[in-house]
Symmetry: C2
Subunit: 336 residues, 2 copies
């Protein structure tokens, strides 16, 4: 059976294709009676609109959107640079939207974007994003590529780094440096990256048969003052950790300050390693050991995958997923 | 004499107001003959289009643009948060555009935005922006508010901090701490903020009758590796500075590394103060003395001025200029 097209509907109803398009788009220019006629036939013939037709028509916008939680994090600022480098080279504009880690804002932004402002979307979800219907809906209209904070539940390109291995490597690094009571500080139970890092951490803990009471995941949140108190309370216990893995860059300063304020020396009393790309890690007191994510490269890969899909609407974006490995850089904060 | 309106032109030519509008907008829907007739009468009657008419019509976009050099700088990431807080409270969307310090990109972005994507613009210009015609043109169509890196040449709201006083205060702080050979590191001769800071610095130098050969402005640029070499070369001279004022946050790490690599101790051999809002200044080795700019508040003030103008098209934006003072925070890097 031939695919049902707008042209076929137009022929059968003796209307112009423009009228059919407008009726299907619920245009105010078309009378309710005509709309009903068109919709009824479309339903009868099982007419399926081409998912990317709208997108293709809008290709002239030559604009992609980047929806990210924040920019005050070196991962995202570097990834943005990678995205913009590729977009610019292909003559595309980049619009940046910040969710500030709020699911409600993420939903509102996607709703706004679905109105046709952009050709496609690059996205790193919020810490609150535990359901994905709003993204799935959007993805029916326009292509979406995830990077870093991905959504494996949605079948599209996922640009990631080796979070599981890095959680494992960070724990191994601390264990080799003599740590036996290691905590991993997390900011979300929803994020794929955090749970992968936690799983890697737990694998190392198990392999070394360390005590699960002392080696555990501790939940922090988005509030700097609260995180300081959480870490301070943790570090004032008699059985305080001798190793800390921070899964988020911004926890570093709270860890350093909470330790300093209690005369706990880094690295003598507690060793610290952080998932971070901040160049100033080098000049911290002491220098911070980091898992450096390939932020710039991940941004480039994400933009490349999206632009490829925009040029070839039959591309299966899920095939464009890549994992780019991170690097552990040991500095003073984990010295033996 | 009554103001000439589109309605008057329409009446005189016996055409619809829609036709006049389209003719004035050079629409392809109008014949060349009609266009000429309309333009001729408009000229004869000295018809002046309402500058914000286009903007008002587009108010439904409920979107403002923020055009800034980069996000990997705590000033801009904090200012963005202030902007978004106000925009969100008024039901406005915020689009972020990065110029990466390139005048060409700034021009391209403004050209793109003039097509009607947004209702107004918040802007901090690039280090290259020495001419302003592209902004002046844009400002004929839509309201523009400057913040931080402002354009006093353009008559609109300028949201600033007390850069002149802060240049003076930073120099005074170093002089009180015993410095006699102070350099101010700059990244642009075009920026109003840099030249104001330099003027304040020079005022303090003059007042204390310090030697102008040793107390001077040194030009850095946008390349981290080159800046490291510039600072290293400067610090390896026999008459090297004993005080450094960095006008840009990102120079901090190059200063610390160049000193460390030559065994020059901060603060014993050279004292350092930086215009910066990075929270991690606290945990640097040594802690960094800073001029803390009211980034969040400046972002809020800029957004408030713009939204006020969008709600009241007769508002004189130049009256909305404000200066919000910065704060000097002394830490280890300027200790006597």
């Amino acid at each position: 059976m031939a695919t049902v097209t707008i042209k076929m509907l137009a022929g059968k109803l003796n209307l112009s294709t423009a009228t059919i398009s407008k009726a299907l788009a619920d245009s105010h220019e078309i009378s309710p009676a005509t709309k009903q006629k068109v919709l009824q036939l479309a339903q009868e013939l099982n007419y399926v609109p081409n998912a990317y037709a709208g997108s293709l028509r809008r290709h002239k916008s030559k604009t992609i959107a980047v929806v990210i939680p924040e920019v005050a994090d070196s991962f995202f600022s570097l990834a943005l640079n990678g995205i913009e480098e590729v977009a610019l080279a292909h003559g595309y504009h980049t619009l940046i939207y910040l969710t500030h880690e709020k699911l409600e804002r993420e939903k509102a932004i996607l709703k706004e974007l679905a109105n046709g402002r952009v050709d496609g979307l690059l996205m790193s979800v919020t810490v609150e994003t535990g359901t994905f219907d709003h993204i799935r809906e959007f993805n029916k209209q326009l292509p979406v590529v995830f990077f870093d904070r991905v959504c494996p539940e949605i079948e599209t390109a996922q640009i990631t780094t080796n979070d599981f291995e890095c959680g494992y490597l960070a724990a191994e690094h601390l264990i080799q440096a003599g740590c036996r009571k290691i905590v991993l500080l997390s900011v979300s139970n929803n994020l794929s990256i955090t749970s992968e890092r936690a799983k890697g951490f737990q694998k190392a803990v198990l392999e070394h048969q360390l005590n699960g009471v002392f080696c555990r995941v501790v939940d922090c949140n988005e509030d700097a003052a609260q995180n300081y108190e959480i870490i301070k309370a943790m570090m004032s216990q008699p059985d305080r950790p001798d190793g800390i893995i921070a899964t988020v860059e911004k926890l570093t300063i709270q860890i350093y300050l909470a330790c300093r304020d209690q005369n706990i020396n880094i690295p003598r009393d507690v060793k610290v390693i952080c998932f971070s790309n901040q160049p100033s890690a080098l000049i911290f007191d002491p220098g911070l050991s980091t898992i450096n994510q390939p932020a710039f490269e991940m941004g480039r890969a994400a933009a490349r995958a999206l632009l490829k899909a925009l040029k070839n609407s039959s591309l299966l974006l899920a095939d464009e997923s890549v994992e780019i490995p991170s690097t552990l850089i040991a500095r003073g904060s984990t010295k033996m």
